[in-house]
């Protein structure tokens, strides 16, 4: 019985819904998010590398950058290359980046004059295969562009993250993972509304802040993997 099942599952005529761009256990294709609740919802247990991730949010500062920080710092440690920031809304603060574990000497800031130049720079950076991750703040991006960026990320094996306004939810996009950040009752909710290889999910209060207590100072990936980040003893 088991043999027949194995044979069937191994046949090329059967398409499995959980197979996608991400495979479990293949090192380098998935980066652990650092938040236990998110790891459980994402295929492979982490962010899909070598593809495009879209993060939508209505306001700046509700946690959309913090969401990716643990994975970015782990990638920085393992790989060589630039971390490219294209058209950031403000200046990234160097001491904070150091706190999160990113190397400041490998940061590349790009200030293009127009959206078209931003998209061109993103494609160049992704296909050059010298970047660990490319973070871009883009307003308008149509589906064809998102497909090109997805392919470029696959070619160059870099992680592309596009931050877009919340109104972009209604648009179609070829990104492998699309999520929306919303302020929730306890903390920030992450609405994974397009996940390649898994079902959409809603994660409320992704970093378990439990009433606004701040995060601990130095975070290492081993600590972050533990589900739920403990709050602080005492309050301010």
């Amino acid at each position: 019985m088991d043999e027949a099942l194995e044979q069937l599952l191994g046949s090329y005529r059967l398409w499995r819904g959980s197979e996608g761009a991400v495979r479990e256990g293949e090192a380098g294709r998935v980066a652990a998010t650092g938040y236990g609740k998110l790891d459980a919802c994402l295929p492979g247990g982490g962010w899909p590398l070598a593809s495009l991730t879209e993060a939508l949010s209505a306001t700046c500062g509700i946690g959309e950058l913090r969401l990716f920080m643990p994975a970015l710092s782990a990638l920085c440690r393992q790989r060589e290359g630039w971390v490219v920031w294209i058209a950031p809304p403000h200046v990234p603060y160097a001491p904070a980046l150091m706190q999160w574990g990113l190397e400041v000497s490998r940061i590349l800031l790009i200030h293009p004059a127009r959206d078209q130049e931003a998209l061109w720079a993103m494609e160049q950076a992704l296909s050059s295969a010298t970047c660990v991750a490319v973070l871009a703040w883009i307003n308008r991006m149509d589906e064809r562009t998102s497909r090109r960026l997805q392919l470029a990320a696959g070619r160059g094996e870099s992680w592309a993250i596009a931050f877009r306004p919340a109104a972009a939810r209604r648009e179609a996009s070829a990104a492998a993972l699309r999520l929306m950040l919303r302020p929730g009752s306890n903390g920030t909710d992450v609405d994974l509304f397009k996940v390649r290889g898994a079902r959409p999910a809603l994660v409320s209060d992704y970093d378990d802040r439990d009433g606004g207590s701040p995060l601990p100072l130095v975070r290492s990936p081993e600590e972050s993997r533990a589900p739920g980040i403990g709050g602080r003893a005492g309050s301010g």
Binding site: C60, H90, A94, V104, I110, H111, T130, P183, T188
Partner: protein, 560 residues
């Protein structure tokens, strides 16, 4: 030892060779008697090359490349134009025809005719003036190119190159293949050339000017050279006329004249030239060494704004540059293109690189990006490329593929991305970050050149702070020192309602205060109390209250 009783013709006295049909075996034959020459300059004649000495001298093989249409090629005009065209040169105050093209030649225009005669023969003749300087530059650039075939290249003005190829025969697997490579290379560069080979340079030159042919060994040389007309020697017209007057019109007949008389009447230089051509005297040639810098110009033929033509012209220049760098084993760090217009100043375009390289493909890509954005005030008629100072080329070492896992990415790719981005977006649009040893949040960061600066300057106090904080956490407490991911370049003043600041609604202070007082020594004195505040929408902000005048609440950063 057999001493010939009568003067042996020079053609037979050269080498100790078995002569079939003579019935006499000469073991060593002394060449013809050499009389001392009454030379005008008083220099001693070169030593008489005995056969033993000739055997000891390393045998040479010279390849001569002659470009009969160099005057046209230097100007950028193809010889096959629609109508008759002639290049005129100034000689002795008169304008004479230097080189006609094919339609003009069929009409009867010959080099050396006066302009009036040429116009009488071909009324619609168009004329161009000769540019000797351009021909010289073209010849030198070809000498650079020819350096890939031979270590000894000697340009022979005005239209020939001499290459010593005896040592290159093995590398190029034979003389035929070498000649074929040379011819094809020249054809690809757009030149019509005649290639001849001979054991001495002067003989190769004369053959190229005359009937052509390939002579590989010295004994065959007289057979090829003797029938050549004396015009190939390039001697002055008076000498040629004098020789024609006594009935001497070919090189062979000239050799049979008595040497002393010939030298006395026509000059010792002519006799020396004959000796050098036939190998009796050595003929050292100056070696061509290219200039240490590269500067070349290409004419586009007509005014144009067409990007394709501009790109093609620049591409040719880059190909030349590649040959030059390869030959001299150099690398370039800066390329300066200049686009010339008919009127006004030339438009410059500079490409600079972070480290000296010789990757012409990459440069071509960068140039393409820059050309798209270049605005030309007028149509372009010529393009020039010059390099800055050239540096020695570093060899590349590759690691053995023994490391497990993914192959290491080449380090050259990191600066290359920055250069590509800068080429399109501008130098100021691509920056890196740097963190300094400071407490004041405004001064602790700085934007720098990503390829030079970046990283932490010195031991930042944050390292120490992190150690202390980690120690504090273990003991059960914790220090409030989390920093926001975003910082505002200029702090934004917040409106105050009652006692509380507000920003998109009232702010709730979550953590604080943290007092930072610093900077009394350089005028940017700060004394601030920093708080972490939360807005109604859930965003977390880093705000401060300034304790110095004007006191107030300001927004410094946003937690990402």
């Amino acid at each position: 030892m057999v001493l010939p009783s009568r003067p042996v013709p020079p053609s037979e006295g050269q080498s100790p060779v078995l002569r079939p049909g003579r019935g006499r075996v000469a073991a060593i034959r002394r060449p013809a008697r050499q009389q001392p020459l009454p030379l005008a300059g008083g220099e001693p004649p070169a030593e008489d090359p005995s056969p033993a000495h000739a055997r000891q001298r390393r045998s040479q093989l010279w390849l001569c490349v002659r470009l009969p249409r160099i005057a046209f090629e230097a100007l950028g005009e193809t010889p096959v134009s629609a109508g008759p065209l002639a290049i005129m040169a100034e000689e002795g105050g008169q304008t004479l025809v230097h080189l006609p093209n094919r339609p003009a030649a069929t009409a009867g225009v010959r080099p050396g005719q006066r302009l009036s005669a040429a116009l009488a023969l071909a009324p619609e003749l168009a004329t161009l003036s000769r540019r000797p300087r351009r021909e010289r530059i073209l010849l030198e650039s070809l000498a650079d190119w020819a350096g890939r075939f031979s270590p000894l290249v000697s340009p022979e003005a005005p239209d020939a190159l001499l290459l010593e190829v005896q040592g290159s025969l093995r590398l190029f697997r034979g003389l035929d293949r070498l000649c074929r490579l040379v011819s094809e290379g020249l054809r690809q560069r757009g030149h019509r050339a005649q290639v001849c080979v001979a054991p001495t340079p002067l003989a190769a030159l004369w053959l190229a000017r005359g009937a052509g042919g390939r002579v590989e060994a010295m004994p065959e040389l007289p057979r090829h050279l003797n029938p050549l007309d004396l015009g190939v020697t390039g001697w002055p017209a008076a000498v040629l006329k004098g020789l024609a007057g006594i009935g001497v019109t070919t090189v062979g007949e000239c050799r049979r004249l008595p040497r002393e008389g010939f030298a006395r009447r026509f000059g010792a230089a002519r006799l020396q030239a004959l000796d050098r051509a036939f190998g009796r005297l050595p003929d050292p040639r100056p070696r061509h060494t290219g200039p240490p810098r590269f500067r070349e110009q290409v004419d586009l033929g007509e005014e144009t704004r067409d990007e394709a033509l501009l790109a093609a012209g620049c591409s040719r220049l880059l190909a030349s540059l590649e040959d030059f760098l390869l030959r001299h084993q150099r690398a370039a760090r800066r390329l300066r293109f200049r686009f010339f217009h008919l009127r006004g100043e030339a438009t410059p375009l500079t490409l600079g690189f972070s480290d000296a390289g010789c990757d012409v493909e990459h440069w071509r890509g960068l140039l393409g990006i820059r050309l798209e954005r270049l605005s030309l005030p007028a149509p372009v008629i010529a393009v020039e490329l010059a390099t800055g100072r050239l540096e020695r080329r570093e060899g590349e070492t590759t690691a053995l593929p023994l490391a497990a896992g993914r192959a290491a990415r080449p380090d050259g790719g990191l600066p290359r991305l920055v250069e590509s981005l800068r080429a399109r977006l501008g130098e100021h649009a691509v920056r890196g970050l740097r963190s300094l040893a400071e407490h004041r949040p405004q001064q602790v960061w700085d934007e720098v050149d990503p390829l030079e600066g970046g990283g932490c300057a010195g031991l930042s106090p944050w390292n120490r702070v992190q150690e202390v904080a980690a120690a504090g956490e273990e003991q059960g407490g914790s220090l409030l020192l989390e920093r926001p991911l975003w910082i505002l370049v200029r702090p934004q003043r917040l409106a105050v309602h009652g006692e509380a600041p507000c920003h998109d609604g009232p702010l709730q202070l979550v953590d604080g205060p943290e007092r930072i007082e610093s900077g009394w020594w350089d005028g940017a004195d700060t004394a601030r109390d920093y708080y972490v505040a939360e807005t109604g929408a859930g965003a977390r902000l880093w705000i401060y209250r300034d304790r110095r005048a004007p006191a107030g609440w300001y927004l410094q950063g946003i937690f990402g």
